[in-house]
């Protein structure tokens, strides 16, 4: 039971308490770019969940299977991770485009966007380096913990993105002062949403 609780806390911690978008401020480029349309936001969220799980598994294997045994993890992890992520994402995109056009149209077109999405690299890095989530396990996750953690990050990303998109759709028609219309108002809305997320900070004492 203890293990399960711990994993559940890890999941919630990654998804809500340390939400990658609104409390960590990672991956914001696409957050504003993609959030003006619900349809796009859903596709993007699904793609992020899929790619992050895949990429962080691959980087975890590359790190513990190759870099650490060779003793070069300390300084090679950045090029190694980004190389693996870039190649993997491009491969998946090409594969989907050829063999599953329906899936490709639903989420594949967002795949390239994810290569340079900070979230993927951030999650992969944090899974193997000491950082935010490392309080209870000295350094590095096991593969299982890594998967749970990544799922949490990705779901948290998707949830925050959908929340914000819904807000923005309403904001479009709100009587906003002319000079604040559009981007400025989106920033302010994001600030308020972010304050809300900070309130989750003490959830379950995490």
């Amino acid at each position: 039971m203890h293990v399960v609780t711990q994993l559940a806390l890890l999941l919630i911690g990654a998804a809500l308490v340390n939400n990658i978008l609104l409390t960590r401020f990672i991956a914001l480029c696409s957050f504003f770019g993609i959030s003006d349309n619900m349809h796009t936001a859903i596709g993007m969220s699904l793609a992020v969940i899929f790619v992050m799980m895949l990429a962080s598994t691959a980087t975890w294997i590359a790190y513990y299977g190759m870099l650490v045994p060779l003793g070069v993890g300390e300084f090679l992890y950045i090029p190694a991770f980004i190389l693996v992520i870039a190649a993997l994402v491009q491969f998946v995109e090409m594969y989907l485009r050829k063999y599953s056009p329906a899936l490709y149209r639903a989420m594949g077109i967002y795949l390239p966007l994810i290569t340079t999405n900070c979230a993927v690299l951030a999650a992969a890095t944090e899974a193997v380096k000491p950082g935010f989530f490392k309080m209870n396990m000295a350094y590095g996750f096991t593969l299982g913990e890594n998967l749970i953690y990544t799922l949490g990050v990705a779901v948290g990303y998707g949830f925050a993105l959908l929340c914000f998109t819904a807000l923005r759709e309403r904001l479009d028609i709100a009587p906003v002062p002319n000079v604040l219309k559009g981007t400025p108002m989106a920033f302010i809305a994001a600030a308020l949403l972010s304050i809300g997320y900070i309130g989750l900070g003490s959830l379950f004492g995490l």
Partner: protein, 315 residues
């Protein structure tokens, strides 16, 4: 200097590099798909970082949008001026610059059935967000004039039917109204070749049965215009009449043939000199038609064309 460390590092990164390239090379061969060379050329000019800052999901999507004219050459924020210039040069070489004007693809207005009465904010954007819009048609105009407010050139006005009329003398084809219109992406407002002489006043992609239930002016996919057209400029695409302006010879045979009054004379083609010819089919009470303009337009036409009064408006 630790030589073994260097060797180990080189080995590790090389292995990853080789694996990645092998993956990509295999994919490039096995999963190759043909892409429009135009799109490819633009894609090459774009940074390819897929950062999403432009609002498109990827550089490829942006290239598609630029090639299709849905996005300007300056779309890429990250690439900045140099990229924009490269793309502009590409577009200049590979496709001619076509002067465009905005055109409305809806003749609904008072003829359209309303799903509910909207008592709130007088804005199309607001109505569009409420249960999919106040009119039964999924592509039609709400008639609340977001486009009219947005037009920086004062080229648009709402007429008695509650439909925006575009003054083609003033329209510069800037596309702002298309962007502002909540149904602009559905083709309600669109930028077309300014030589196009007729416009199909319907953009609905629903089944013909649903369309009829929603609006008495809709395109019913009867193919009469297609048959009437001597050059094949009018074609039925997915159950909707679509004009190819390049083939149109401004004979207005389709305008006459349409049993629904769904095809209108428009455009600032040489054959239709006057500014606003919107609603020329003339079936709307109180909507004035510049008779002389129509006469001038029809006079230049080799094929027999309908005059304003005798158009199939009475049919």
């Amino acid at each position: 200097m630790d030589l073994t460390l260097i060797l180990k590092a080189v080995a590790a990164l090389s292995v990853l590099g080789v694996i990645s390239v092998a993956l990509l090379a295999t994919a490039a061969q096995k999963f190759a798909i043909e892409v429009d060379p135009n799109i490819e050329a633009i894609l090459d000019a774009l940074p390819g970082a897929n950062c999403g800052a432009c609002g498109n999901p990827s550089c490829f999507a942006a290239a598609e949008a630029i090639a299709a004219g849905r996005a300007p050459a300056t779309t890429c924020v990250a690439g900045g001026k140099s990229t924009a210039e490269a793309i502009a040069a590409l577009l200049g070489e590979s496709c001619e610059f076509i002067p465009v004007v905005s055109v409305r693809h809806c003749g609904g207005g008072t003829n359209a059935r309303h799903a509910y009465e909207h008592g709130g904010l007088r804005s199309c954007a607001a109505v569009a967000k409420l249960a999919g819009g106040s009119i039964a048609c999924s592509a039609g105009c709400f008639g609340l004039g977001d486009c009219v407010t947005a037009c920086p050139f004062d080229a648009m006005s709402l007429d008695e039917r509650g439909l925006p009329v575009i003054d083609l003398e003033k329209c510069t084809g800037c596309g702002i109204c298309v962007k502002e219109c909540p149904r602009g992406s559905g083709g309600l407002l669109a930028l077309v070749d300014d030589q196009a002489a007729v416009a199909v006043r319907c953009a609905s992609r629903e089944s013909v049965k649903d369309r009829r239930g929603a609006c008495s002016m809709c395109c019913i996919a009867c193919r009469k215009c297609e048959k009437a057209c001597p050059t094949g400029a009018m074609r039925m695409v997915d159950g909707l009449a679509v004009l190819d302006p390049k083939l149109c010879i401004s004979c207005f045979a389709c305008v006459e043939a349409c049993p629904q009054d769904c095809i209108d004379v428009t455009g600032r083609a040489a054959s239709a000199p006057a500014g606003t010819l919107d609603g020329l089919a003339g079936s709307y009470a109180g909507f004035s038609v510049d008779e002389s303009a129509v006469a001038a337009a029809t006079a230049q036409c080799a094929v027999e064309a309908p005059s304003a009064g005798t158009g199939e408006a009475d049919a």
